[in-house]
């Protein structure tokens, strides 16, 4: 059985409780502070998620309505800064399956695709609508990666564009290394011609 945060967890579609973090430029130092980077395993990062911010009782994820959320709706440039994949592990192990934002940092995106976490890019006004709705209790969003559609029960429906390679990794839960190792003849040929 695969869990979110395992490299080979497929993501096809998911419906779950959404919560909003209406901030821009949320960096990976906030998502998982440095003191949690000393581990040598891929597990145990959920408790460190937004550790400093969670010390504030008014922090968005501390609201009772946010409990059990699996979809995070947030501001532009989410995941900027450090390359630490621990940030995605922490989000996944806390329970998030998808993150919806106007934009993401590049390395963070690459890390999501390899951990069964779906990053969804939507135009800012649509994200604002979802943020507004997610402020309430028990608001659910459905994300379908096969159809590339985000929807809710209140009539919201929007198509999104997914990076084709990242989409394939997510849909099929691929072992990327195993797949690249099948390219051995091409890699060996490249090495011979560049020796």
């Amino acid at each position: 059985m695969c869990a979110a945060g395992d490299p080979m967890t497929p993501f096809v579609r998911h419906k779950g409780k959404a919560t909003a973090l209406p901030r821009r430029d949320v960096d990976t130092d906030q998502i998982i502070p440095k003191q949690f980077l000393k581990g040598v395993d891929r597990t145990g990062f959920g408790d460190g998620l937004f550790f400093d911010w969670r010390a504030d009782p008014n922090f968005e994820l501390n609201r009772p309505e946010a409990r059990g959320a699996t979809i995070l709706v947030t501001g532009p440039n989410f995941g900027c800064g450090s390359s630490r994949e621990h940030a995605v592990w922490a989000l996944a192990q806390y329970g998030f399956r998808a993150i919806i934002a106007p934009s993401f940092a590049d390395i963070f995106l690459a890390n999501c695709y390899r951990n069964g976490v779906l990053p969804v890019r939507l135009p800012a006004p649509q994200v604002d609508t979802l943020i507004e709705r997610a402020a309430g209790d028990s608001y659910e969003i459905a994300v379908d990666l096969e159809q590339c559609v985000v929807s809710d029960d209140l009539g919201f429906s929007a198509r999104f564009t997914a990076d084709p390679y990242g989409r394939e990794l997510l849909l099929r839960g691929l072992d990327e290394i195993g797949r690249t190792l099948l390219e051995e003849p091409s890699i060996a040929a490249y090495e011979r011609s560049h020796a």
Partner: protein, 465 residues
């Protein structure tokens, strides 16, 4: 068809096109450190995979190492375990490691260039976002996550979507007292922290050509703070002079052959970039950040901005949050803000020229009474060179701590951290909330500016010195 520098390096590394714009690319140099690699090595072991090209892989310990007395064991047991894990993994997989006993140990982005392992035209990766530093040599160098580290270890390749290409043309001459750090901070301030997302930046223009290699590294290092996938500068005589004679650089006949090939690494006249931005270096003054992203930056002569005056709602909210965290009031002149700590270090600004610039400000003066200041050289080689030049005495006599190499208080993974509410003048690259320590307040600036702040105990304009 005319090509940019980036197009050339990309094309030269394609092992196979996997789909439109997606390619399997060959990695020439893989740099590894202790924090983002243990899970990758564990993955290899689990799947019984080996490292395809250990000779193209170099490892060092930097993020999590103490910068105090090296003769003592690492006091933090968890840090020690991570450092030991890299030692074990390097031995097991046959990877060269610069450990705490090595005279070549240092920050991964300092030692690659100083050993001559970083070379023009290479594709370089590392599980660290500041890998963009190596682009200063005309390499395509990018930070990757741990899953990708594992992929590169196993296959010596990486799968990438081809980023777009942005030209950052920096024209004009820098005024005295204005450093490479000021240029890159001003550029980030202009285009924003996501201004180059999805792009590789090529820095061009006379202000870039005039930079030394170490200054170019400072510029490329902070490409990621503008959101860029990488930054690069076409190699020239300055690049070749820097590399010649370094331990891992080609020598003899191979040197001339390589230089000949490296000279072809440039953008063809008229080759199209996807976007272009320009910055006039002559209009840039010493820069200081006032907020919690590197894009929240202003000239030292400016005042803390009033969020209410910012045009976009998102910017107003972000600035309001940032000022509350930073404990700053709108309208306060930046010059004169009192500081508690000074950090001279990091992969951005801890090379020998940085230490010389800071030492020239400090010489014969003393750190302000209530300020604690530290110098953390970027590598043990930089440290030894500085000691040969007597810079350690200059800093020690002035009241600075003189430490061993590591990432140190740039990210505060080791014992070098800011306390809550402490305000720090730092030569590093990120002023995020809590970056240097929970509740710590970071102002980014050049080495000369940080040195002057240490002496005065407040932010000052180094041009007045």
């Amino acid at each position: 068809m005319s090509r940019t520098l980036f197009d050339r390096i990309w094309d030269g590394h394609v092992v196979r096109e996997l789909a439109d714009g997606v390619a399997l690319l060959y990695v020439d140099l893989h740099l590894v450190h202790e924090v983002t690699s243990p899970q990758a090595f564990a993955g290899l072991k689990r799947e019984k995979r080996s490292v395809r090209r250990p000779e193209r892989t170099l490892a060092t310990v930097d993020h999590n190492v103490p910068t105090g007395d090296r003769s003592l064991p690492i006091a933090d047991a968890i840090s020690a375990r991570q450092v030991d894990a890299l030692g074990t993994n390097a031995r097991e997989f046959g990877i060269e490691l610069f450990d705490l006993r090595s005279p070549d140990q240092g920050i991964v982005h300092v030692i690659g260039p100083e050993l001559g392992a970083t070379q023009p035209g290479m594709l370089i990766v590392c599980g660290d976002s500041h890998t963009s530093t190596h682009g200063a040599f005309g390499a395509f160098a990018l930070g990757i996550g741990t899953s990708e580290v594992e992929h590169v270890l196993a296959t010596q390749c990486i799968v990438l979507n081809k980023p777009r290409n942005l030209e950052a043309r920096i024209t004009g001459d820098r005024a005295p007292g204005v450093s490479a750090k000021d240029l890159i901070l001003a550029l980030i301030g202009k285009i924003g922290t996501a201004g180059a997302s999805g792009h590789v930046i090529e820095y061009t223009g006379e202000a870039i050509r005039a930079l030394s290699m170490e200054e170019r590294m400072t510029v490329c290092n902070m490409s990621i703070e503008a959101g860029a996938r990488a930054g690069m500068i076409a190699p020239d005589e300055i690049t070749f002079d820097y590399l010649k004679g370094r331990p891992r650089a080609p020598a003899g006949e191979s040197w001339s052959r390589n230089v000949e090939q490296w000279r072809t690494l440039r953008t063809d006249p008229g080759a199209p970039y996807d976007r272009s931005v320009t910055l006039d270096a002559s209009k840039v003054g010493p820069q200081v950040t006032w907020g919690t992203t590197p894009g929240m930056v202003a000239d030292i002569t400016a005042r803390v901005p009033d969020p209410a005056e910012l045009p976009a709602e998102g910017d107003r909210e972000a600035a309001t949050r940032a000022l509350a965290y930073m404990g700053l009031v709108p309208g306060t002149p930046l010059e004169g803000i009192p500081i508690d700590r000074v950090f001279l270090g990091s992969c951005t600004n801890a090379r020998i020229e940085d230490l010389r610039a800071a030492a020239s400000v400090v010489r014969g003066r003393h750190v302000a009474a209530r300020v604690r200041a530290m110098v953390v050289p970027g590598s043990q080689r930089v440290k030894a060179q500085a000691e040969r030049e007597g810079l350690d005495r200059v800093f020690r006599d002035a009241g600075f701590e003189w430490r061993n190499a590591g990432c140190s208080m740039c990210l505060g993974m080791n014992a070098d951290v800011l306390g809550a509410g402490e305000r720090c003048a730092a030569t590093s690259n990120r002023n995020f909330e809590g970056r240097q320590g929970r509740g710590g307040r970071t102002h980014l600036m050049s080495p000369a500016m940080a040195a002057a702040a240490a002496i005065e105990g407040r932010l000052v304009d180094v041009r007045g010195w």
